[in-house]
Amino acid sequence: MSEKTYKPGNYPDLPPPPGTVGVYGWIRQNLFSSISNSLLTIISVVLLYYLIDGIIGWFFLDAVFDADSKIACRKIDDGACWAVITRRVGQFVYGFYPEAERWRIDITFLTMFVAFAPLLYPDIPKRKWLLYFSVFYPFFAFVLIMGGYFGLQKIEYSLFGGFMLTVILGVCGIVCSLPLGILLALGRQSNLTVVRTLSVCFIEFMRGVPLITLLFVASSMLNYFLPPGTNFSILVRVIIMFTFFSAAYIAEVIRGGIQAIPKGQYEAADALGMNYWQKTRFITLPQALKISIPGIVNTFIGLYKDTTLVVVIGLLDPLGIGRAALADTKWNGLSTETYLFVALFFFVSCFAMSRYSLWLENKLNTDQK
């Protein structure tokens, strides 16, 4: 190609050289940039082929989805025996909640998405009306799940279990610990010595003690510390402990966010005559929370997975239900299938939280919109 000459100031924008952009460019730069890289790519593709072949076979093609026992499974095919799940799926989801009343859990769970939608997606249409529902939802959910009002049969909390228990503990813990964490983070930064000292003590104590210890305290000792006559159910006590525990972590994450805000932001707010609460609401928190999103969601995911620890105080979370299933002589030895299923449930929930946090970070990124 012959080099053309242009007058100064008239050089046009030329397209990039061929093979550097587009699909072809990407493949060349990322997969086949050198001889060793090309070899690695080919070996990886071959390995992936055999691995995926085996995985799909075990999971789906050779798997048995319905049978009466493990032995019956093995007679049909030699892949996974998902019958242990399909035969007991009700217990995995609802625990020992009475079968005739399970619709109450279904409704509570489905309406939860309606209640969360306006909080998670600020641009949703009719947000104001949905927010009224969000405020009303906790009472609605409580009455529907526990019963005892409006002719609904009262259900003992000891019958709760499975994924339903995980979601109740996780969602209550998450929803309560965020505001408490924010207050603790502000308290720790406060100029009032008493508030600051109390916040520091609370945070350091909660972070310094293993969660299992707190759960044992909740199950056996909390009633000694409460005024006589009060008697919370074990479920409420466990939720309080989860809330306190993760609030302490969230407080520290948010404190990091607050400290990352440049001093000039406060000076500008001061110069405009804003008082402490106006500064906190409009300047500090929006910026600090945005910075802290990855850390907050990290803590939430940790809390959600830690709900499985309630098995040590006798509540039947999905792992507890799984162990009960494995103890059944019919299903003895199917721990791989059982634990994979439980793991899949946790993965889906946690992955959803993680994707939401990425979406939110992107949405709040005002630098390069």
Binding site: G264, A271, L272, G273, F282, I283, Q368
Partner: protein, 253 residues
């Protein structure tokens, strides 16, 4: 130099024998200064001379330890009521703009009028648009600060301060963080503001601006006011040796 028709003899800022320390370091020494309504004062001096600290004391971003500062007949003390009254009367523009990055340009301008002055949202938006037009960027109202150039951001910061309808404007090196080609647009905005009769205290090294609009130029060094004079005498016949040295350093390069 233009003569200032708006200057009156009503004092709006009176500083009497004011001292300030940063821990043991004596940053401001025996400062006395009176500013009348409509007066434009430029403060210059080498870095570390205390000029920024001085104007930051006027809206109590810095706390002085001795002497009096009286703004609009209200004395600056620890009293929060007084402080809020003074701060909504005194606007401030910073070297690093300090716009709120999570709010749009318009929201930056309306936040304080709505919540501090309790102005209805619609009125404060109208006022904000009017002032954004005055600083010549109404079309950027819905963008975020991060999408604007430095000069545009500083003009937004000026509009944001003006939205509180202050009686006094403080400028803390407003052009020091800007590229040369953007300095002019900010200075032009400030010159227009001066023509409306605003009382202004400007810390700057832009001596052209001082010659053009200042009623009085102050030279500070090591925490003291060394010399104060009208621009003509200040630049042509500086009396103090340190002023002469400073002027020779910044004017002949």
């Amino acid at each position: 130099m233009v003569t200032n028709k708006n200057k009156s003899s009503t004092p709006v800022i009176q500083i009497k024998e004011m001292h300030k320390w940063f821990a043991n370091f004596h940053v401001l020494k025996n400062i006395s200064l009176g500013v009348n309504q409509g007066e434009r004062i430029v403060i210059c001096g080498p870095s570390g001379s205390g000029k920024s600290t001085l104007i930051r004391c006027i809206n109590r971003l810095e706390v002085h330890q001795q002497g009096d500062i009286i703004v609009n007949n209200v004395e600056l003390t620890g009293d929060l009521k007084n402080l809020e009254a003074i701060r909504s009367d005194v606007g401030m523009v910073f070297q690093s703009f300090n716009l709120f990055p999570h709010l749009t340009v318009l929201e930056n301008c309306t936040l304080a009028p709505i919540w501090v002055k309790k102005l209805p949202k619609k009125d404060s938006e109208e006022l904000a648009m009017e002032l954004l037009t005055r600083v010549k960027i109404p079309e950027q109202a819905l963008k975020y600060p991060g999408q604007l150039s430095g000069g545009q951001q500083q003009r937004v910061a000026i509009a944001r301060s003006l939205c509180m309808q202050p009686k006094i404007m403080l400028f803390d090196e407003p052009t020091s963080a800007l590229d040369p080609e953007m300095i002019k647009e900010v200075l032009d905005t400030m010159i227009e503001l001066a023509e409306t009769g605003m009382t202004m205290l400007v810390v700057t090294h832009e001596m052209g601006f001082a010659k053009k609009v200042a009623d009085s130029v102050i030279f500070m060094d090591e925490g003291e006011i060394i010399e104060q004079n009208d621009p003509k005498n200040f630049f042509n016949n500086p009396k103090n040796d340190r002023t002469k040295l400073f002027l020779s350093q910044i004017l002949n390069h």
